[in-house]
Structures are given as C-alpha cells and as structure tokens.
Amino acid sequence: MSSEIRFTDFKSDKQPTWCPGCGDFGTMNGMMKALAETGNDPDNTFVVAGIGCSGKIGTYMHSYALHGVHGRALPVGTGVKLARPDIEVMVAGGDGDGYSIGAGHFVHAVRRNVDMTYVVMDNRIYGLTKGQASPTSRDDFETSTTPEGPKQPPVNPHALALASGATFIAQSFSSDALRHQEIVQRAIEHDGFGFVNVYSPCVTFNDVDTYDYFRDSLVDLEETDHDPTDRDAAKDVILDSEKEYQGVVYQDESSVPYTEQHGMDADMSDIPAGAPENATDLVREFY
C-alpha cells in the first residue's frame, strides 16, 4: 500500500445489499474515513464482524477481516489484537450481536480494555430476520414476535459499559457523517477499548427510531458543558433514560490498555523454524 491512503481504499468491490437508506451505509463510511484519517491502511487493519445486517460490513470493506459467528466478534478481535499488537483492530456488530447473544463477551471485553475499537450499529430492531424486537427496542415496540411490545426495558449499553469499567464510551448518529467520523476516530485513538454505539436507523422495519426521531431528539454533548473525563457526570447522562445524545460521554485519560498491563508487545506470528531457544530448560524443570 502506498502512503497516500484514501478512505475508498477500505471499500471492497462488493456492492452492499443493505436496503436503500439504511443507516449502515453512513456508519461504514465514517469507519472507513476514520481508519484512513488515523493513518491506517487495509493491510494493517483487521475488521471483525458479527452476524446480522451489521455483520455484512466485513464483506463491503477491504481489509484483513473475519466474519464470525453470532455474538462472538469481540473475543475474535481480542485474539487478533493480543497476537498482533501492530495491527489496528476494529470490531463491528449490531445491537443483537453485541447486547443479546454477545452480551456476556461485551462485559468482559470492556473489563479487559484491549486496545481496539468496537462499533455497534444500533437500529433497535432485528432487520435481517425481518423485524423482531432487539435488546435495545423500546418496551412498547410492536413486532411480529412481540405484538404488544417486549414489555421489558431496553438494555442500556452505556450503563453496562460504565459499570464494567469502560475507559471510552461514546455514541454517534450515522446520518451526522462528520460527527460520527470524528467520534469513531477518537475511539481509534483511545489507548484501550474504544466503544461507540452508533444510531444506525433501519428504514424497513423500525418506524419509531427513525432518522427524524434522532434528528429531533439528539443532543450533542460537545455543545453542552459535559466533561467526558468526569465519571459522575457521565453516569448522570448515561442513566437519564429520556435523553438521546451523541458524543464522547466518558473517557479515562489514564487508561492503560491490556497489552501494556501485561507487558506484551511481541508479534506472535513471528516464530523460529524449530523449538525456541532455551526450550530445553522446560525439560530440565521436570528433573
């Protein structure tokens, strides 16, 4: 790759099959721009995708990539990054992938604070299976499997992250291209687990959480006096269920990523042609 990286270098030659108007177009464009802007190129980038409409992103982007099984994208990203600290790792998934089947991994990935970026394309619906409630659907959101609404509160991903010790929590809106790109860029630049929940509307199956809804209700934290380094202030914003916001809600500037905590910087793919030097020491231990 040449040193002149443009965001289109991150585009594959496959045309997306997302519905026209899908929020995922904007989400992906912002990710590609943020990657290019932070000096990455497709050959040193690894994208891990889950299952669902969001999971198709690995096919539409050009980079090293793995499109994995449902809900396990974060463990895959963790493995890539720990084996290859030199590689930029970006994990992408949807609200079902991240907060339902993969919720357990989400909590532990946050705790580990591996230096990677996690972008959740949150449309508050299961789109690929044609419109069932997701863990972020509103409690009265009527779908084919929840005719009277789920009657359970939606998961609050930011609260889950904060309670698990997150060092970077942000939210963006796929339609606000510039801010979305900026926010993903800050997540990439963060030393640790950069978590961005992206409002990425489903134009086919969600007639409640629409572009208009987010445009009308979103508050940009950058235009308020919110201090993202203040954990208590972040907590107040996150726990206010009435508020839809975008921006970096929390960042621990003293975050120490996993690899640094564990003194890891080796490229694990680089091994000798025989047993490592001093391997005989291992045998001697058994005397």
Binding site: D43, G68, P75, R84, H108, A266, M268, I271, R284, Y287
Partner: protein, 585 residues
Amino acid sequence: MAADFNWAVGGEAGDGIDSTGKIFAQALSRSGRHVFTSKDFASRIRGGYTAYKVRTSVDKVQSVVDRLDVLIALTPRTIDENLDELHDESVVIYDGERTTMQNVEIPGEMTGVDVPLKRLAEDAGGAIMRNVVALGAACAVADFPIENLDSALEKRFGDKGQKLVDNNKEAARAGRAYVDEEYDHEFPYELETTDEDYVLLNGDEAIGMGAIAAGCRFYAGYPITPATDVMTYLTGRIEQYGGHVVQAEDELSAVNMALGAARGGARAMTATSGPGIDLMTETFGLVATSETPLVICNVMRSGPSTGMPTKQEQGDLNHMLYGGHGEVPRFVLAPTTIDECFWKTVEAFNLAEKYQLPVYLTADLSLAVTEQTFSPETFDMDAVAIDRGFVVDESTVSDHQTESGGFKPHALTDDGISPRALPGTADGAHMSTGLEHDEQGRRTEDTDMRVEQVDKRNRKVETAETREDWSPREFGDPDADTLVITWGSNEGALVEALDILGESGIDVRVMAVPYVFPRPDLSAAIEAAETVLVVECNETGQFANLIERDALTRVERVNKYTGVRFKADELAAEIRSTLTGAVEA
C-alpha cells in the same frame, strides 16, 4: 523384568496427599527408578477420600496394577478403599496416636507400622510435616536411601528457605529412625537405585511443553477438569517465550480468541474437556470453513453432561469426528502415551498450519493426571521442526491474486491447500467468513463455486493422507492370530498385558492408533487375524464402529451438496448410471 513396587498415600482432601505423593515420586525418579503415578480423587460417597499412587521399577512402567505393597493411611477409610489391592506382605504405615486411627485394625496377615507422625513432626519443627515423617518411615520400610528424598524436598521447599528444607529433612529422618528402631528391618522390600537420570511429568504438562516447543504463542482457555493443568502449566512459562495466556469468560470466548490469534498469524491453542467442547462446537465450523489453523485440545473425562468429572472415559470420539452442523474436514489426533502427548502436540500444530484446518488433539483423564518417568532425551528440542505451510510474503503475494488484485485465500488448487497471507502482508488483505465463499473469501451462493469449495476443503484430507505418515504403533507378535486394536491412553496397559498373556502362551498383535482422522487403513491386518478386539474406555465402541466400517464393502453413494434439493429425473439418472457402471464392472 525387575519386580515392581507399589506405594500409596491416602487420606482426606486437604491432607496434602498430592504433594506428599509427588515428593515420593520425585525421590524415586531422582534415584534412577522408573515411576508411574495415578490419583484417586473419588467423591462417590461422603467425605473427600483421595489417594496418590506410585508404581516404580528399575524397568519401564507404563500402567497401574491391582497391588499395593506399602500404604500410608492417614484415615481408616484409606485402608478400606484399598483392601482389594493390599496383600499379606503389605505394610500399612499409620499414626496410632491420631484420634481417628486409635482403634484401627490392620487386616489379615499384613503388617501395621504405627509411627507417631504428628509427634515426631512437632519435634522436628511443626505438625504440618507429619506426612514427611511418614515418607521417612516409608523409606525405612522400603529400604530406600533417604538422600533421594532430600533432593525432592529441596525441589519442593527450596524457594521457601533453607530452614524449612532442613526441618523437613529432619522430619523424614525422624520417621526413618523410628521405624528402624521399633521394627528392626523385618520388611520384604528393597528399592535399588540406578545412575539413570529421568524427568517426571504428566500428560497435560507434556501437551503444554509441546505447545511452547511448537511455537504456540497464544492460549485462551476456561478452567475445567482435567484440562486445567495445560493452562496452569503454560501460565508463567509461555510468557518467557513471547506468548500469553488469557483466562476467557467461557469456552465460547476462549475458542474465538484462539481463532482470532490464529487469524493474526500466531500458533494458537485452547484446551478443554467435554462440556467445553460442546460450547466450542458452535465456532468449530467457522474455524474449519474459514480454513484457520487451530489446535483444540480435548482432555476427555466421563460424560455426558457433567458426568463424572474426575473419572476416565474416551466418550467424545463421535463428537470430535462429527460435531457441528454441516460437513467440514478436521483432523483428530490421540496420543497414546505421555511422551507422545508432547510429540503429537508438535505434530498437531504443523498439521493445522500445513492443511489450514482445526486439529483436535485429544488426551484423556488418565493421560492428563498421570505422571511418568522418561529419559530427558525423549523430549529432544533439537528434533522439533516447525512447518508453517503455504504462507505468502510480500514477494510472492502477487502470484495469488485475481486480475484486479484481490488476494485468493481460498484459491482452488490441485492439492486443496490455498495460500495464506498473514495480516500486515502488503496487498494480502482479504476477508474470511463462515459463509460459503469464493476464492477471495467473499460470500457466494453460486452452486458451482459451492461445490468447488467443498471439494477443495475435502481435497486437503486426500493430500494429507498421501503426504503424511498415519501409521499405528505396533507391539507384540506381528504374526499372531489375535489382533487387539486400541486408541489413546490404553496403550501402556495393553503393552503390559502382553507380558502377562505371554506367560500363559497367548500371542497377541497390538496396534495402538494415535490418528483417529485421518487414520491408518487396518483392513489388511484385520483380514489376516482370526480374532479382532478393539479396546476403548466407552460403552458403545465408537472406535470399533469406525474400524468395522472401514473393513466393510462400500455401498455406492449418491451425494449432492450444491444447496439445491434432489429432483426426480436427476435421481433416476444417477441410479441408472450407477447400475450401468455396476453391470459393466
């Protein structure tokens, strides 16, 4: 063959049984004697009876036997549990001053050696050393030089200070002196020593050491009996070779982390047991169809479900061969001995990378928790060779691209093996997926490409069958009428059984198979034998079923895997052409 000697220490969980047994086993190993250990950690009734058993000889020992010569019994139940193995010349060492042991009766003709273990330990510096007093007493009973115990004590306590080591040595001598004075060498045992140097290790440790030797740098796992020792072995050691161990939140995560590390180009491994294999099966198909080299170690225990977690079984064979929806090739290796656990681990990593697929490396509880002596040269690190398979670099990547420059990680090749570009390789960026894909790894539902990719993946097996050595290990009389086939950890017991059978004039040919898939073709040996037995630790005979199937005449097969159902006229044509072919043949 020299007489073997069988020794055990038993008591309640928490009595320090394991470390006491290990010290004695190490002392024997250091004295140049062969050792084979086993553990009883039964929890079948109430209480936590546990025992550590040691079989030793100046000749190689590779099995347990139903005989116990000297038993250190810390509880009355220890004697009851071992009644079947004790005999008239057995010696039971116990502390008659211990409240629970005051009224103990030593059964039959066997000798009870009553040693005030706790009192002597207190005199030497602390009651905690009472088991070491018992070891000293055992040295006297077995006529075994106590200096060998000293070096084992130094190994065990050396990092806690010389004072503690000295106290323990004194405690051992107090035990020996007490027996010498009170019992006047009336025992029929004498453990001779040799100048041989041996190392003593268990199967899990051999797998862990093999992984480091093979260049494994990434391990992710979730603790589970009896595979945990692989993880604890690697922790603190693999880091010294540039690697890392992650304790994942569950097995789903563990296998996906290992998959990620492997996609990153590291040699990666996870180890688990049955319940964990069930969970990892979710990701297994992805590993295989994305053609990711990964070693999944399954240390089998008794199932199903939680089963008997501390008991032996070889019940997961079908699962490893067939587990997961859909069809995709995988290799299954089953080392038959502890030293082979090391070598098969090295081989598993090479096979995984050469053929870009998941390799099940399966041991079982018996191999995992058993320690055995080997000469250190058995683990000759200079003999370890790493073959990373078909990996491209920046100078060769362009040979494997489409006209528009797309890298082809699933290129349709004659041998089925495609080029692999590790992240960071310029112009090698590509996608991999659990979806059916084209040569570039991009999703496809094209029926021709689907068939070509399935065939390509299966071609790797055909290639491996011809390129690699899948031979069984042979023992006994190659011309015998009786053929006994086994797989996995039963080899040692079977080889010793040959000696026993030989004494009554029964000749047997033994084949121990470390390769379950691909596996050697045994049909000629089966044909030549009058009687064929297949020995395995399970109820349904999972390996026997494979051997029987291999020996059967094949049916004609009609298969379709384009993703489109059979059609009537198509089936009629297939059947007609098969019949025509059969008539012509």
